[in-house]
Symmetry: C2
Subunit: 359 residues, 2 copies
């Protein structure tokens, strides 16, 4: 593990917040944004953690993302919100919108929101999990940069469009599904590429749209827009359910992009001045259906059924959605493991804006 450095969460938090503040991000917004990024690192989803800082700083410097997020409510009912992030920070827009969604759901049973003109918001699960402390079900979806092919296509016109749902429990850890609708995210190809390993052929295609195991070539094709891209969950073949992953990705885009009246499909990031990312959030109070208590007890029972069911040969554990991430989060409460390449990037960013740090 010489490729990684262990860094105190507090130190990393302060450093990252200071960078955002230097770039004109209000302190409260900097805290929100960094909390979402560090939640990803702590949960072991490093692709969505401080590794993103370089890109975010670039967007702010190039005036593609405004440091002050002016979230405006365009329409609202007792159970819905349409907001625009006005090209501000995705995390700030997401956090503030999800808080409003939670308040309306507490009051009126449920609430759903769409947000347009936003940016990358980090891990989808951060927002769905915000609902948990109020014993609500939380939902969070977002569209994203076009990297994924439709079934039988060779042009990346859909995002990895993740979806997350979080359900409260009584004694168990909450159920937190947080998944990209592609088989894997691009970061996974980068990991295999660094290891010089072939990738499974359900992950991505070459420039002609044929499944390929050559990560280096695929990444180069994607970077230079030569064709090909990531495959939807299910891979390339209908026989394996490719059309289902493709359909799920489209569903996330419809609920985020089309429903908000914002950007969708290949339109996202096509405007050099604004990413146009859109989100969808929801919260449901179990009291309008069963009750909170019964819901949480039955969630424990449901989790027990899955966990205690018989294991396949050679397996000794069945995981529950979110379980691995919660273990990692516990493990990385005080210190997170960050790749040295990212550490170098962070130091460079610090130098650039005049903030020194010792990791």
């Amino acid at each position: 593990m010489a490729d990684f450095t262990n860094i105190k969460v507090d130190v990393l938090r302060k450093f990252t917040e200071d960078i955002f503040i230097k770039l004109g991000v209000p302190e409260e917004d900097a805290k929100i944004t960094v909390d979402v990024l560090l939640a990803a690192n702590r949960r072991g989803i490093n692709s969505h953690g401080v590794a993103r800082l370089k890109r975010y700083v670039g967007y702010i410097k190039d005036n593609k993302m405004t440091p002050k997020t002016e979230l405006s409510i365009i329409k609202e009912t007792p159970v819905s919100i349409l907001a625009s992030a006005n090209n501000g920070i995705g995390q700030v827009a997401g956090y503030k919108t999800m808080n409003m969604v939670i308040n309306k759901a507490k009051e009126n049973g449920l609430c759903f929101a769409t947000v347009k003109e936003s940016n990358h918001y980090g891990i989808a699960g951060y927002y769905s999990m915000m609902a948990l402390k109020y014993d609500l079900l939380g939902i969070s979806l977002t569209n994203s940069a076009p990297l994924v092919l439709p079934t039988f296509g060779k042009q990346a016109i859909l995002g990895t469009n993740p979806l997350s749902i979080a359900a409260p429990t009584k004694n168990e850890r909450p159920f937190v599904l947080d998944m990209a609708t592609s088989t894997v995210p691009r970061g996974k190809l980068e990991v295999y590429n660094r290891m010089g390993k072939q990738i499974p052929d359900a992950w991505a295609t070459d420039e002609k749209g044929n499944p390929s195991t050559d990560a280096a070539k695929i990444l180069d094709n994607m970077l230079n827009r030569k064709g090909g891209g990531l495959l939807p969950l299910g891979g390339a073949m209908e026989e394996m359910g490719s059309h289902k992953g493709y359909g799920l990705s489209a569903m996330v885009d419809i609920l985020s992009g089309v429903l908000s009246g914002g950007a969708f499909g290949s339109i996202i990031y096509s405007n050099k001045q604004a990413a146009g990312v859109c989100h969808f959030f929801g919260a449901i109070n179990p009291d309008i259906f069963t009750s909170k208590d019964e819901f949480k007890e039955n969630m424990d029972k449901f989790i027990g059924i899955m966990r205690d069911s018989e294991k396949a040969e050679g397996r000794d554990k069945i995981y529950i959605a979110g379980e691995k991430e919660f273990s990692k989060e516990d493990e990385q409460e005080e210190t997170v493991s960050i790749s040295n390449k990212v550490v170098e990037n962070l130091k460079e960013i610090g130098n650039d804006v005049g903030i020194e740090v010792k990791f």
Copy 2:
């Protein structure tokens, strides 16, 4: 195609309705149930069409399903409904609940419902598509008989738990995603078995939980509860996204079974007197976010992006969710193609209850 018989839809409709009526199902309910079954046949999803009649008749005769569906509303708000089907027919419960959901969504912007103590409701897409004629987004989920393994498991404790979302369009056919969260339904194994063909190893496992290509053995294991079962979308390996399909299946069960306070996981069908199937329905009026007109125009644009994107080598068409089913539905407007085995079953059922038919 000597294995199939072409039957006039009208004849099949009348015959099937008459059977339900003979069994004590009220005429209106018989019409609803048959309409859902025939929609499946017309759309080419024969596993969910009149082939189910034999089982439905069996449930009614064994007093496991009541012919008169007394749908009761347990709780209700302006945007939500909790109902019990009181062990009636799933199609009747689904149709009536979705109509109430649509009315509340027209009035209050959106509405969600859960239904417990129900039965198999046919194709999920029937109910989501009911929202389309009002220019609403429709959502329909259901849990189902435990046939699917969790990732790393060998015991079938989850249903194929389908999810459907339907989105209205302007000039295009609507977007209708209607998918099981397993890689394939059991019916697909039966088809391969009849053809004597090996199945792909992402579909199901043997009794030890190892991926298998032997459909006959797997079907026998499933029937006799020897272990093994269908794999979630993504197959057996996390590398291929198995945990995502498993998570989606669990998500559907949480929203249907746990949220309604009904049965879930391996509890479904475990009570010999009642299946305990649960559904989840939703409708969203685009006017509370963007507008109906803008939504429908942008859906056309989104569909255009997907359809017109570059094709993979050897492919000449990119499909939109629901497109193949709509084509089939058009093709089978007057006549549906039914397997001879099902035709024989239908005739037997007819004989049993004293209804003669000539197909």
